[in-house]
């Protein structure tokens, strides 16, 4: 008999081992999410460094965007709700006081985030090739 848990774990390990920086490796049902909205992109970016609660995500987003992208609790939790529905993030734990829930990126979330980074990378490379951006060291 095949152990479903082991099989799932093996599939996950294989998926993680494969480079998935191109949208071609992204499951079809997730491709329509690209390009990501700024809120989705920055929340996934914040969670790429590990699980966080809502306020830590908000602080990390401000730091990552150098203060250029700010969101309040409404945008944060509307986006978190959507990401949970899409299974791009998952809830991991609640703090002992029961006030804060922690979230982490799921395997699908990581794949979508990597695909978005790949897409951005391709755009920047193209812009550099066409001399639309200043060359490094210039």
């Amino acid at each position: 008999m095949i152990d479903a848990g082991t099989l799932d774990e093996r599939k996950e390990a294989e998926a993680m081992a494969k480079p998935s920086t191109k949208t071609g490796t992204l499951p079809d049902d997730l491709r329509h999410l690209l390009p990501l909205t700024p809120a989705v992109f920055f929340i996934l970016f914040a969670l790429a460094g590990g699980e966080k609660h809502g306020y830590a995500i908000m602080q990390q987003v401000t730091a990552l965007s150098d203060g250029k992208f700010r969101m309040g609790p409404g945008t944060l939790y509307t986006t978190i709700q959507r990401l949970l529905e899409l299974s791009l993030i998952e809830e991991t734990a609640t703090d002992p006081a029961g006030r804060r829930r922690y979230y982490r990126m799921s395997r699908n979330g990581r794949a979508v985030f990597k695909a978005e980074l790949g897409r951005m990378d391709a755009v920047v490379r193209l812009a550099l090739q066409q001399h639309l951006l200043p060359q490094e060291g210039a």
Binding site: M58, M71, G72, P73, G74, T75, Y77, Q81, R101
Partner: protein, 99 residues
């Protein structure tokens, strides 16, 4: 909790009533908690200027989020009604329309 922070907390708790029920039920307490943390940090860092900056951000996003969430819910309802109407019309047409 300092008085200005307590007032802000209560005002934001009132604003939360404008958000869709599902979001409020799932995340209302957390949203209030995050808002309070945000206000406390802004006050400690920049005083009342910081608090005003948080309120400006929150007011803008509340209008945007509330309007778009309710419009989305409304459009889903309209689509459901149209789909149901389409199904009923097709059903009756298939029975009576071909006579």
């Amino acid at each position: 909790m300092a008085l200005p922070l307590r007032v802000s907390h209560r005002v934001y708790a009132g604003l939360l009533l404008l958000y869709p029920t599902a979001l409020r039920q799932q995340f209302g307490e957390e949203m209030l908690e995050v808002f309070t943390d945000q206000m406390r940090d802004a006050r400690n860092k920049d005083g009342w200027v910081g608090e005003m900056a948080v309120w400006r951000c929150v007011a803008g996003e509340t209008v945007h989020t509330v309007v778009s969430s309710h419009l989305q819910t409304a459009s889903v309802s309209v689509l459901s009604i149209l789909a149901a109407f389409g199904l009923v019309t097709t059903f009756f047409w298939s029975i009576f329309g071909q006579r």
